[in-house]
């Protein structure tokens, strides 16, 4: 008797002629997520993957698979030959009176994908249910809400399992192209990256810092966020870009009310340049409408105007609490709330413009000479890989 992990994928199973592309991509992503585990073997069967590993690696694999987009659910299953006597023997090991010692309800659910197997699924349900009732007086049947669902899948071999662990769903990362995420270190941007990755976008991060006004800790914090995110996004590149010179030029020459907006425009321009370098077709930001002065509709218009690529803002219609819930779930929240100054907080204008007019913004922007500074910033960017 062998123990495996059954992996089920959802949305991509509905794809048409290019389904195999999605399936193969998901298989590659699973391989990457489990690459450090010993004894890894992956097998494709109809509508499922079978994961085999060294026995001590199962729990780690289950945890890792729960973070791979495109997987709907997984089960820790036992594999035996297509033989009813074998099934009975295994059922007692899993559900016999030695194992279940308190009153428990159950139901058997069989699936006979292999029609060569002589017992039809309804009959298999009845026979196996009856056998279990005979051999364990604690068990009783409840077909509506059983505490334990005893699954039997008869394919080229028989898979038996009692748990179905829900996973994230979504699409395999990489199937929807690349996006450059502006990763600030706050609560929102990692969540935005996570949500785009869930729709299959490969994420490249860009972080701006204002050293020496900001600290090594702020940088370390973003590195940690990228590390946490990469457990969902798969291998991830992070560009760390110094924004100090550009910021100083803007602060010195432009109207203070507009400096935050101009800074964001500068960041967008750099992110777009990096996107072209990386072959990415979109930018991703954690903006949520009306959350702060730079996220009013007018301000978003003013910053959007700086670039040509589409800017995806998956949090645009979410409240802070909804964003925090996701951040807690994906475990970026604790790191995000570490209170270090970042380049957006170092020089905050006292009264930022919340309803900027685009022509005024462009007029202010023209006062600062940042063209070459932007080139320098891109040239000197540090590239980290996770």
């Amino acid at each position: 008797m062998e123990k495996v992990i059954l992996v089920r994928y959802g949305e991509i199973a509905l794809k048409g002629l290019n389904k195999s592309y999605f399936v193969d991509l998901l298989l590659r992503n699973i391989k990457a997520a489990l690459k450090n585990l010993s004894g890894l073997k992956l097998e494709k069967i109809q509508g499922r993957f079978i994961v085999r590993l060294a026995p001590e690696e199962y729990d780690k694999a289950v945890a890792a698979l729960q973070k791979v987009f495109g997987i709907v659910s997984i089960s820790k299953a036992y594999v035996i030959e297509n033989d009813f006597e074998e099934m009975k023997k295994l059922s007692l090991e899993l559900m016999g009176d030695q194992v279940i010692t308190e009153k428990t309800t159950f139901k058997v659910r069989s699936k006979r994908a292999n029609k060569a197997f002589p017992i039809k699924s309804m009959d298999l349900n009845n026979k196996m249910g009856g056998y279990l009732l005979e051999n364990n007086t604690n068990l009783s049947v409840d077909v509506k809400k059983p505490q334990i669902m005893f699954h039997i899948e008869v394919r080229e071999k028989t898979y038996i399992y009692t748990d179905i662990i829900s996973c994230l769903g979504g699409l395999p990362v990489g199937c929807s192209g690349k996006g450059v995420l502006m990763l600030s270190g706050g609560i929102d941007s990692p969540v935005a990256g996570y949500m785009m990755a869930k729709r299959g976008v490969e994420i490249v991060g860009v972080h701006f810092h204002s050293y020496p006004y900001t600290s090594d800790r702020a940088r370390e914090k973003v590195i940690e966020l990228a590390r946490i995110m990469s457990s969902y996004t798969g291998p991830m590149k992070l560009y760390v870009v110094s924004f100090t010179d550009i910021q100083q030029e803007q602060l010195l020459k432009c109207n203070e009310k507009y400096t935050t907006l101009l800074m964001r425009r500068g960041m967008m321009k750099i992110a777009e340049r990096i996107a072209y370098m990386e072959g990415a077709m979109s930018l991703v930001s954690g903006e949520s409408l009306g959350q702060v002065a730079s996220q009013t509709m007018e301000s978003i218009n003013a910053t959007n105007n700086a670039v040509e690529l589409p800017v995806f803002r998956p949090l645009i219609g979410m409240d802070k609490n909804e964003i925090i819930d996701i951040a807690q779930k994906i475990e970026t929240f604790e790191t995000s709330i570490l209170p270090f100054e970042d380049c957006c907080t170092v020089f905050v204008p006292k009264h930022p413009e919340t309803r900027p007019k685009l022509e005024k913004v462009l007029e202010e922007e023209a006062k600062a000479d940042v063209g070459e500074l932007i080139e320098e910033a891109i040239k000197n960017a540090e590239i980290l890989r996770f």
């Binding site: 050293y211 006004y213 600290s215 010195l252 209170p339 100054e341 907080t345 020089f347």
Partner: protein, 384 residues
């Protein structure tokens, strides 16, 4: 490198490290062991206990070694409340205590205790009238720090003890003296402090060791149970090298007055130069003897303290900021808030804290670099 964050921690004294080394590498026995190595370890423990007790002028049986200030404060407060809980349910502390006192008091708020926080004035001194009014026959514990860790204000523990004893015969007076030891005279017996906490790493000793003095007749019960070490009051294998280290660190304080004079000279110099060189500066502590000599807290207009901290860090000067990140109100210093300092000053507050290793030249250089950094930041923030 110029280290001016000595309220956070201090560099260990070389004599401390030398003494400790022996107990890591040679005499590493467990004081509880019956063999000779255990006995050697026990003797070292006794010697350190004598050193600490001698310094505080108390009986050595009243000294218990703990893991540091936080554990000491927790043990003091919890065991004092446990002892007196049948006599009343009111406990009093100040609004400017270290979190290792404040958080313990907060934990009693929803547990049937009447928790009272005494205010301080604009200078960081306790409102003694409020304390008098708050004390009643239900009050079982008062915990007031002797020296504040952010601004250095020295509370009049002698007077506080007197007020407490006049109103209640069984109310216990605990004082967190972590920032006081080595900087101001500390004598629990003559001052009327019943329980006192201090820590090794603030006096050039090692981290992870502290001591607590408990008045002889209090007979407090432990909160950690185990092998019954430290007369049953604090179980757990003794941190022998740490204990030896704190003993030697206390011995180094024998030149107390000389060291205090040095700290005071550094502070006076810093104040004099800062006043001369910087505009828009506000002093949250001064050079009078009402403040401990090793701490200076200032606020600078139109700059964020964390930004200045990093600019100085780039020049190898290490200080502390009075608030972490000003975009998050809850991370602003509760001490400065309690002193009613306006938000703009809290944003730009810095703590400069000295030790015996600092020199006047270092102070001059620090002020020069601070001025440079402030001018640099103000270029961008004063363009209104």
């Amino acid at each position: 490198m110029i280290y001016l964050d000595n309220s956070a921690t201090t560099r260990a004294d070389e004599q401390v490290v030398t003494a400790m080394n022996k107990y890591f590498l040679e005499c590493y026995g467990n004081p509880s062991s019956l063999h000779r190595m255990g006995l050697e370890a026990e003797k070292a423990m006794n010697k350190a206990r004598k050193q600490v007790a001698g310094f505080l002028k108390v009986d050595e049986k009243t000294i218990t070694f703990v893991s540091g200030g936080t554990e000491g404060n927790n043990l003091a407060i919890r065991s004092a409340i446990n002892k007196n809980k049948r006599l009343g349910n009111k406990i009093i502390t100040s609004a400017i205590e270290h979190p290792s006192v404040l958080e313990v008091f907060k934990s009693y708020e929803n547990n049937g205790y009447d928790v009272f926080y005494i205010d301080v004035d604009k200078k960081g001194f306790l409102d003694l009238e409020q304390l008098e009014e708050a004390l009643d026959d239900k009050t079982i514990l008062v915990s007031i720090m002797k020296v504040n860790n952010e601004v250095g204000s020295i509370q009049n523990t002698r007077e506080i003890a007197k007020i407490i004893k006049e109103r209640s015969q069984y109310c216990i007076f605990h004082s967190d003296c972590v920032q006081a030891v080595g900087k101001v005279p500390v004598e629990p017996l003559s001052e009327g402090i019943d329980i006192l906490t201090f820590s090794g790493h603030k006096i050039h000793g090692p981290k992870g060791i502290g001591a607590i003095y408990v008045r002889k007749d209090l007979a407090l019960q432990p909160i950690l149970f185990g092998g019954g070490q430290e007369r049953g009051f604090r179980s757990g294998t003794e941190n022998l090298p740490g204990v030896v280290g704190i003993g030697v660190a206390v011995e180094q304080l024998s030149q107390f007055q000389q060291q205090v004079d040095h700290l005071q000279a550094l502070k006076s110099k810093a104040i004099e130069l800062l006043k001369a060189e910087l505009s828009g500066i506000h002093f949250n502590s001064d050079e009078s003897e009402k403040y401990a000599p090793h701490v200076l807290n200032i606020s600078i207009e139109d700059v964020k303290s964390e930004v200045l901290l990093h600019l100085l860090e780039k020049k190898e000067i290490f200080i502390s900021s009075g608030s972490a990140c000003t975009s998050k109100k809850n991370s602003q210093s509760h001490v400065l808030k309690s002193m009613n300092l306006s938000s703009k000053y809290i944003e730009g507050s810095l703590r400069i804290s000295f030790s015996k290793y600092n020199t006047l030249e270092e102070i001059e250089y620090m002020v020069k670099m601070l001025k440079e950094s402030v001018d640099n930041v103000r270029k961008f923030t004063r363009r209104r």
